[in-house]
Subunit: 198 residues, 2 copies
């Protein structure tokens, strides 16, 4: 294979969720395209690379020239609710669903002995300041329902040591449309434990 | 979502085999990466876009400053065998397998009434010239085993109208490791029709 093409394929194959096979198809599609798709992609990449950075307040990626992102600047979101999430993808998921209209706080990871992620690796420094500055009354933990997620949640509650704030977490249980046959024992046990009176 | 990020996601989602969800993950991975992956990707894209073009002889994408690609210039491949394929991906597949060491001819598509692809859309103009110039003795059709593939094959044989050349096609049948239970009737019928004496 031509070395320039091979190099481009390798760059694509390094991307998450793109394997070698898909990278080949992508490169082939791009090189055979005559509508300037490569140029559009290059322009968008350069623009985002040069102008997008994490909001110093909440961690959301933004291109705002002000010091804060669109969520932190939005006064209608200053409703006292702060949703703690692992990464930006979780913010996008929540925004798409429309279930939450407060502000976010991106941790950038979860505590994990296995991966060696310690509290210093998480975006926690300004969380206490945010709670007082933004008059936060409820912290909603929307973290993965895993050992790492729960550990991180407990750790944050312990370091904040703030009894004026209401701490909540997302409900666990059977997903909508979930067939009991296909649900793992852990979820089933959580769903039983949290059963609701009708 | 930030408009610059959204634009970049849209560019990635247009690529083959990349959906909206994968595009989000890719963009997130790229923007959060600190090893300069975006710059490497941009450089490889610009380099390939500016320097790679189809070989005027066989259609393979190349960056050779000479008029011909690495396959056409390679004298050891001038063994009289010419493999006719649909696109560059097929060349890569065959090269990876190592089963063929002659030259290629990329059609750039297959005749199809459904998609409105006519002989004018295929790279056929120089095929007759190649046969005489490169002293081709055998044309191997490695086209998809479909109605379009077979139609295209028959059409090419009819326009070449050259009885000195040996025409062959890839064998049809049960794939290696193929369980008869999972094989469609068409393949089974071809495999029966082409059964070999032991």
């Amino acid at each position: 294979m031509n070395p320039k093409i091979e190099k481009l394929i390798k760059q694509f194959a390094k991307l998450p969720r793109v394997g070698n096979r898909a990278a080949r198809r992508i490169v082939l599609g791009l090189l055979q395209d005559k509508t300037g798709r490569i140029n559009n992609l290059v322009d968008a990449l350069i623009d985002a690379n040069e102008n997008v950075y994490p909001c110093p307040n909440c961690g959301v990626l933004t291109d705002r020239s002000l010091s804060q992102c669109e969520y932190c600047c939005d006064m209608s979101r200053g409703n006292g609710m702060l949703c703690v999430v692992r990464d930006l993808a979780d913010v996008w998921t929540l925004e798409k669903s429309g279930v939450f209209n407060g502000r976010y706080h991106i941790l950038g990871g979860l505590l994990s002995g296995m991966s060696g992620i310690t509290p210093d690796d998480l975006n926690l420094n300004n969380l206490a300041t945010r709670i007082s500055n933004e008059k936060v009354t409820e912290i909603i933990f929307a973290l993965p329902n895993t050992v790492e997620g729960k550990t991180t949640q407990q750790y944050i509650i312990s370091i904040l040591n703030n009894t004026d704030v209401h701490y909540t977490e997302l409900a666990s249980g059977v997903p909508l449309g979930g067939d009991l046959d296909y649900i793992d024992d852990g979820t089933l046990s959580l769903a039983f434990g949290g059963r609701r009176a009708l």
